[in-house]
Symmetry: C2
Subunit: 368 residues, 2 copies
């Protein structure tokens, strides 16, 4: 193989930024935001995007401007960032364990925004009560991912316990995480709808209305069952996808987007041709080490759809690059990471556009 193929991927200005760095294509971001907003309208559901993917107040504002009713977050620290950034409707989709310090922080966020919190145990409700907070709650149910969440049939007893303790019960939510598999995307969406319908029925049995039946992930959104029925039947009332806003190599392989739809890439430099290999300066400390069992590698190359990252160290990506021409030493390439949420969480900033602008990853590392 000859090593003479240039890959011009950046303007002169962006080209002065040291690699590896995160490059954000705002046109693609807006297209993805608009497409998911349209999908939610078609389904007759509200859209509450998960902000853990982008961790960016600016991107969140684009989602809200396109009609999202609010944001989903995973942690109190993320809620703090987005409330400070002006979002007034937050759902912490996580079975928080609340101690005195966390109760004070949640109270402070509630002074800025409407806040609901996920629950899957009476003990977590007791902990919130003991520390003097009674936010709106949404009961988490397990639709087949087998992570957090009670069985749908148990939603009513948790909801009744919450209501008796003075909490407002908004409804039920689930994360159909088993949609992260090319073989089960559609069936996971059906599981999600069934679990939320069963949870709503269980809540109704306790005299509680599931105003919100919240589901959704990027892989299941295409197959989601919308809000055709009433409050105790039918489908979802709310979608909470996250990754769609940027896309990644996992989503390409799951079939939710094409490579050319992916908005977030890691700009990397070819640093070695040792042994005839193509080695990039983007390793697991910038891409993340995610690799699902069904993934074809540790990431892809935007300009070379057949190429795969076949080995990953902290600062090296080894690329299997089929075809005749290797990218030159010193040339820059665009890496499509496997799982963009973890990629974003490794970086302090996005490099945006050709100017370029530097946007902070506002909620980077806000895990607690």
């Amino acid at each position: 193989m000859s090593a003479d193929a240039p890959f011009a991927t950046d303007s002169a200005a962006a080209g002065s930024v040291a690699t590896p760095y995160l490059r954000l294509d705002l046109g693609r971001v807006q297209a993805s935001i608009d497409a998911m907003a349209a999908r939610a309208r078609t389904l007759g559901v509200t859209l509450r995007p998960h902000a853990k993917t982008h961790k960016s107040v600016r991107v969140a504002r684009q989602q809200l401007a396109a009609g999202a009713v609010g944001l989903t977050v995973a942690t109190v620290a993320e809620a703090e960032v987005f409330a400070a950034g002006g979002c007034t409707d937050l759902f912490i989709a996580y079975p928080l364990w609340v101690d005195a310090a966390k109760a004070r922080r949640i109270a402070a966020v509630r002074a800025q925004a409407r806040v609901a919190i996920g629950v899957d145990s009476t003990a977590s409700l007791d902990a919130m009560s003991a520390h003097g907070i009674r936010p709106e709650v949404v009961v988490e149910v397990d639709s087949g991912h087998h992570r957090s969440g009670v069985a749908p049939e148990a939603a009513g007893s948790i909801g009744r316990y919450a209501a008796d303790a003075g909490f407002v019960v908004r409804g039920a939510f689930t994360f159909p995480g088993h949609s992260y598999n090319p073989a089960t995307r559609a069936s996971a969406a059906l599981d999600e709808a069934r679990a939320l319908a069963a949870a709503a029925e269980s809540l109704a049995g306790q005299g509680l209305s599931a105003q919100v039946r919240s589901g959704g992930s990027t892989p299941s959104a295409q197959f989601a069952v919308g809000n055709a029925g009433g409050s105790t039947g039918g489908g979802l009332t709310e979608l909470r996808p996250g990754v769609y806003v940027f896309g990644d190599a996992q989503q390409v392989e799951l079939g939710t987007c094409e490579l050319e739809d992916v908005a977030l890439t890691v700009v990397a430099t070819v640093v070695s041709h040792a042994g005839g290999r193509v080695l990039l300066d983007a390793g697991s400390k910038v891409l993340g080490a995610d690799r699902a069992a069904w993934a074809s590698g540790y990431g892809r190359l935007m300009e070379a759809p057949e190429a795969r990252i076949v080995a990953l160290s902290e600062h090296h990506a080894t690329v299997d690059w089929p075809g005749g021409r290797l990218p030159q030493l010193g040339s820059r390439v665009l890496v499509v990471p496997n799982h963009v949420c973890n990629t974003v969480n490794l970086a302090d900033a996005y490099v945006v556009g050709e100017g370029p602008q530097i946007w902070p990853v506002d909620a980077r590392g806000r895990n607690s």
Copy 2:
């Protein structure tokens, strides 16, 4: 299983820090630093620990105080941090691609510290020359990991090219990354010694002396071949292990340390017992997603040696917890991550001791 086993893992003061967070046990850090320093003395080699593991100026100072001759780093940005922190001898063990901006940054670091840089191509030497820098270089050779590095027999031609271009050639280095496998730790150390001897011979054939023959990784250090011979034969002159300073679950499974030697843990809270599972609030955004093919899980629990993290999401760890008693909801446990280098790079700070003190992760995210 009953859910009534308390696990008291932290003092009241540290207990007020929100989970998940990184907890550093300084006694264990010092013990590991002393043990590797003793190992290097026994081998008759110098020790140049890789600072990419801890990214901490304070920890680096402990290593230098224990006799390390300098530090190894992976990036120019790491070199900047440790030079600013007072380290005066740095080896960037990476085949850098140097453009104008990077050349200026390297020159600035060289004003503060002695700096050597890895090379595995004549093109990278040309790039440095073109931008007006000629640091000391060390030729990288491949000892079997098949990442960067030329064949040992090719070291001489790279070295000759460098010397003719005005670079001082310090010697050769390799990373025996194939030591990260329980089955090949010892053989990788032999490969390393053979490759460095062959590289030294190749350099000698070009009239160049391999003053430094640098190898080493934490898994191979126990089997490393020391400096018994002369400058063109024998074993290593320098070791560059990184992970030993903290240890992690990979090292426990590789057999380089015991669980109770691991100095860096992630303090996590049990947030859910849904489905009889134990779910922690430490996911891939704090632990990292590393999992080698031979690893028994995504991490371990310090207090429960039989337990394994069997699934990992961004903010959830699902633990398989054998035995009768699950840790209570709301209790805190110490997670031993698989690969501590990536764990540290996700955090802004260490929580140290029982006060506790907060130490910055000085070089977090310094990938370029």
